[in-house]
Symmetry: C2
Subunit: 420 residues, 2 copies
């Protein structure tokens, strides 16, 4: 495997205005094209520091991907800095000039003189077209002290970077790959990380190929298994571990290979021809948003309701006001009634509901983080009490994952009955 | 200003499984405590490479914050590596042992022997309690070659890192701060980045204190103005620029100082005692989710509907089926009807709707990215056609921002009338 690293340029990253999702995206794809990612570096819009980081990267890595700093504004200095460090001149590309003129004509916007800087590239670079914006990227092959290096410059906005990297960079890198690193991811829900690790200690400890490791996010423990070799060897090594993990965690295995929990739920519901509707109070639409983020969700979800106020729970959903009075809005009983009512209102097989306090502060004397998740599925019901510590955002994400997992478990129960 | 940098440890970051939101969070807060962040580095769970990065960081920065690698698992090697590099022994902390025992007793889980490694710290370190998990952090003051350095070790999971950093680290750093860097952020919607820059060229170009720069995300251009000095001097410098920006961008200014568009909308609606309901097709609940992510949203949103299928638009919302037949579900007319109907159904002053194709693929012969956003506000209506290139996720985010901005503009119109 060759070595790669990513340098992301932008003071906005160092100021904490945005997370470095570009590096994440690229990192997930490079190993499959034969490059292991060893470092991410973020550096500001500062020529000296960028030059220093770039030279260090060029020393220790075969491929250096730079993101950001290709825009038309004054602080966009990546092309200049890289060209200078590599001893290359910047030259104008006439085709890019035409593309820019067309782009501005089409969008009816005036082209400012600063936009013309985007048509200059280090000499000899292959230009990467930008289908979603004005800043093209470029790819440079250059021998440095007798060792051939690849340098890739990509625009910072993720919506521009992603298609450019996938369509124009990755195929070029893949063509030359001999050895690749493949990874597979196994998401386990309902088991703490330390227990996952001790139950998998034989595959986690003391091996070099394949390797396995765990990490946890929003209540889901992910086991990553990675193997090196030709594409076929690597796949076979991973599959052996995959069988062990499937056998040991069974129903707690919520998704494989980066398939999100919501994707698992949509695919399972599709398979069993089941529809889902949510009735969301404290999650405010997040469960429905997660389900509809999956392409093809229209086979599974027709409608959902956000019932934030008590009146909405009563008037739109038809929850009995006596029930809310008696048990409180943050209660098992209300959650169950909401789940059943949304299934009826939306004409869905499954109804899932949330009611609770996402914080900050207390509600009906219930602490922040206390949430009830209700489930209705063809006459059967289930409810879970969650008490989650953390921010409003964290509580809502955890609760949404719990709700999606309850749908998954309910559908899986059905799946087993049918299979027998 | 002193110099800081952040080293995040975790192969999962280099594999692209998660974005480095820890570095983002810390970076946003450090300048206000007198530390400028100059680098982020991500390195894998590898002792040699981590040691190398840590030594380099210690050379060039006054404060080094390390995140991740404090868990109980075998690949958690941050404490060992840092202690070794600083020439410190790891010693057991009896209070942490007690805390761990209590934590496991309370949560009814078995404490595995590997958990005990979490009670060891570099000698002399101040221990940072973990209120949301088992891995405590620590803070080390150490003189290196006669220069005093601060090293902070924090757990990787954001829900554990955030309260620990805010409650236990930041106050200590702030106490000693003489010079701070303050920043203010101005979000401009509806103006392209290059135009924002040229209209602000006098405050962006050729200055060193304050400085200003732009970046763009999901259709919103953010102008960051930063100033250095004592707390009061910095604020005054920023306020001068703020007035310029407010004057030049007026109604296109969607939010200040990191206040999100949804927060702006909630605060505006609160101020004018207006309620909002959404009827979402392609955004699937995202608008409602964004609004309810703001604490206090219950003053503004009572309910919303997700109407993904045509039947739901007709049966739940009461859109005329003839209208959908005549104009298509992806049309101005359907968007407007949805906006009006949701305002009526949810008893809200404002109704906002989305109908379109979030992709991938075509729908009713409409291309991916074509979406209509409808708005109803006390008998008046408005509609916007969006044609957005990019992923399903990107399209949904951009459309949700457009919808929120239409609500903002509608409320602002009212605000002006009242003010006169």
């Amino acid at each position: 495997m060759k070595k790669a690293e990513i340098i992301s340029v932008g003071t906005e990253l160092l100021m904490g205005q945005v997370a470095n999702t570009d590096a994440q995206f690229i990192s997930a794809l490079l190993p499959g094209a034969g490059f292991g990612v060893y470092y991410h570096t973020v550096v500001g819009d500062n020529k000296d520091r960028l030059a220093q980081c770039f030279k260090k990267a060029l020393e220790r890595s075969d491929l250096v991907v730079l993101t950001g700093g290709l825009g038309p504004t004054e602080d966009d200095l990546t092309k200049n800095t890289v060209a200078e460090a590599l001893g290359l001149k910047l030259v104008i590309d006439e085709e890019t000039v035409k593309d820019l003129e067309n782009y501005f004509a089409r969008s009816g916007r005036k082209m400012s003189s600063s936009n013309m800087s985007q048509a200059y590239f280090p000499e000899g670079a292959a230009i990467l077209k930008n289908k979603c914006g004005t800043a093209p990227g470029c790819m440079i092959n250059k021998s440095v002290n007798g060792i051939s290096k690849i340098v890739v410059l990509l625009p910072g906005p993720p919506s521009e970077l992603k298609p450019m990297f996938e369509d124009e960079v990755l195929p070029v890198l893949e063509k030359d790959a001999e050895e690749v690193l493949k990874s597979k991811f196994f998401d386990i829900i309902g088991v703490p990380e330390s227990e996952v690790e001790s139950r998998l200690s034989d595959i986690i400890s003391g091996r070099t190929n394949p390797t396995a490791a765990t990490y946890v996010k929003e209540g889901i423990v992910t086991v990553r298994v990675s193997a090196c070799g030709t594409s076929d060897t690597a796949s076979a090594l991973i599959e052996k571990d995959a069988e062990v993990i499937r056998e040991r965690f069974g129903k707690n295995l919520a998704g494989e290979n980066g398939q999100s929990l919501q994707e698992t739920v949509v695919r399972l519901c599709e398979k069993h021809k089941l529809s889902v509707a949510s009735a969301e109070s404290c999650t405010g639409g997040m469960i429905s948003e997660l389900i509809t983020s999956v392409p093809g969700a229209s086979n599974v979800i027709r409608s959902s309701v956000v019932v934030y106020s008590n009146e909405a729970k009563i008037n739109i959903l038809g929850v009995d006001p006596e029930l809310i009075n008696k048990y409180g809005v943050v209660s098992e009983q209300t959650a169950l009634a909401m789940a059943e009512r949304t299934a009826v209102l939306c004409g869905s097989d499954i109804g899932v509901s949330t009611t609770g306090n996402a914080g900050p502060g207390t509600l009906e004397n219930k602490p922040a983080g206390l949430v009830y998740v209700g489930l209705y599925f063809r006459g059967k019901t289930a409810v879970k009490e969650c008490l989650i510590r953390g921010s409003r955002e964290h509580i809502r994400r955890r609760v949404s994952n719990t709700a999606l997992n309850m749908v998954r478990e309910a559908v899986l129960g059905i799946g087993e009955d049918n299979d027998r």
